[in-house]
Symmetry: C2
Subunit: 370 residues, 2 copies
Amino acid sequence: MKTDTRFTIVYQIEAGDQAKAENFVRKIGTEQSVEISLELVPPEARSSLPEFSPVEQFGENKWKARISYPMSVVGDDPTQFLNVLFGNISLLNGIVISDVSDNIFNELLNGPSFGIEGIRNSCGAMKRAISSTALKPVGLSAEELADRAFLFSKGGIDIIKDDHGLTNQQSATFEERVSLCTKAVRRGEQQSGKKSLYFPNITTSPQNLIERFEKAVELGADGVLVCPQLTGLESLLSIASLKEIPVMAHPAFSGSYIQANHGFSPELFYGKIWRAFGADAVIYPNTGGRFPFSVEQCHQLNRQMRGHFCSFKPTFPVPAGGIKLETVKEWMDSYGNDIILLIGGSLYNQKSGIESAAREFQQLLENYGK
Amino acid sequence: MKTDTRFTIVYQIEAGDQAKAENFVRKIGTEQSVEISLELVPPEARSSLPEFSPVEQFGENKWKARISYPMSVVGDDPTQFLNVLFGNISLLNGIVISDVSDNIFNELLNGPSFGIEGIRNSCGAMKRAISSTALKPVGLSAEELADRAFLFSKGGIDIIKDDHGLTNQQSATFEERVSLCTKAVRRGEQQSGKKSLYFPNITTSPQNLIERFEKAVELGADGVLVCPQLTGLESLLSIASLKEIPVMAHPAFSGSYIQANHGFSPELFYGKIWRAFGADAVIYPNTGGRFPFSVEQCHQLNRQMRGHFCSFKPTFPVPAGGIKLETVKEWMDSYGNDIILLIGGSLYNQKSGIESAAREFQQLLENYGK
């Protein structure tokens, strides 16, 4: 039963003084709802108006503001929710959305269908950290990628995913790649004696995504990889709602929404919004890797993805980048067991070969803490 | 016939010296193609490698760089093209893509189905500027919005579009709104004696977008409004390819990709990419309005949307914001006739009422230069 009629968005904005901050906040609230001067809103539409709380200063030229919006402005449309969050104001500078009240997520969305526990069940590993790697590079044939998948599986890796740049290239078309890699992973399992999962990348036109998802299921894939900001975020909801296999979300094309003074805080964006839209696991750029996340941001992301949020299942955090075999233990000490550690390039860079590197990685996780 | 095998992306990057700039460029090229250290790319995949031109300094710590990529890395997938453009590097700071060679657009995309001439044909106005306004605010009933549509049409406005925040709210559900507003615009035409077009907003889940588009066509809408960055950009291509009615693209949720030192130059993003994906008209935030575009940016956008680009039809530029009845002539002097001037709030703010304000706006355009 719908009991709340309003939800709240928390903003961090830049403004020289309190009056400017308050003006800015009124501009935001208007822009994101009625899009017309408040005095021009007719009485019949006044139930759509935003409500403003006093701004609070939290640093030099930095203000925290809360605006409450009627749920009726969003209606039942998750894409319209994104529009109310950051539609027109994406064209402005100096606005970061740091939080959104849980009730709107609860009203509109369902969270992951599998989450941490579901992926653990598929892996047959209920407590320890999960290993993951990526099939690459683009340009290899489906057979060559499947050869690599076989070696990773034989070495015991828990989740073997496609690079997110593997789509439907001539060198390895989607169907051939998924078919051969699935079979290769199954063959590898026979040698390793343990379960390995294959998550092909299904990112493509939003209108073809469901078909590609269903094809992956049909060919025996254990999960899928998708880049929600390339397919439209509600595409994530569409495939998660099918509840067939887990969905791992990749941050390609999404970084523009988590800039330092523009967009969303990373923990809200990936940890609440993507979780609410159905991501069972979310890849994020690990600190010390190729992208500028701080270790504290990574911890915040882990906490947000794992912690209580509506009645949604927890999402598996997947730090990627900057993790090497030599540093796996340090990352485990830092991040704990509820983590999927993704090592890509570093496994390809071992003199002992892919299979041996995979086995070493897997052993590190299985023996951690013993 | 496919003759080119590579295409080029031009970047503007920030780096302290030439060596750092060159390193940065190699990082970008690797990240956006093979995603693995170049020395780990096996011979079978070397045809996927990027190629680098020497960097050129164009300001303090500012460098221009060109990277060519094999077309085979994109394949036939426009969403993968977006990924190669700005997928992983969206997570970095200090990269602006300023241009992309035409051949990749030519290979993958078709541009607008109607463009400037098609919209002019629908309006019955082959030379003069086109007037446009927005139905608002959210919260009004379908009947109340239709009343406004009738007055705008009676006053002679060429294109009456929904506010992009009107989706499927209880206050005015999609089907009822489109049905009533279409009929209201037809009634208004009978009074004005001239054509008026109605463009409902169809923005919603990518998976429901085609259905909503077809429903708009069925109910007699003359075009549609869509926010491509909310629906996934390739959704724009999907509806434009149907070639049924013109598509006006709205920049909500897209501003994050055109930040000052992050993303794309606005003229590339809206003027080339959105045009190539099929936008017949593109709304952009006019200078002097509520958003920080400069007048020079607006002129560049107009030039890019109208000018020669592959064999694509020109896209109608739609500056919005900051245009008042008193300043219409100045904007016309500045922007010329191939423009759709969008006035929203200002028409609601006339003491003489909506119909009279609409008529005054329309007369200004019809009499301009006479």
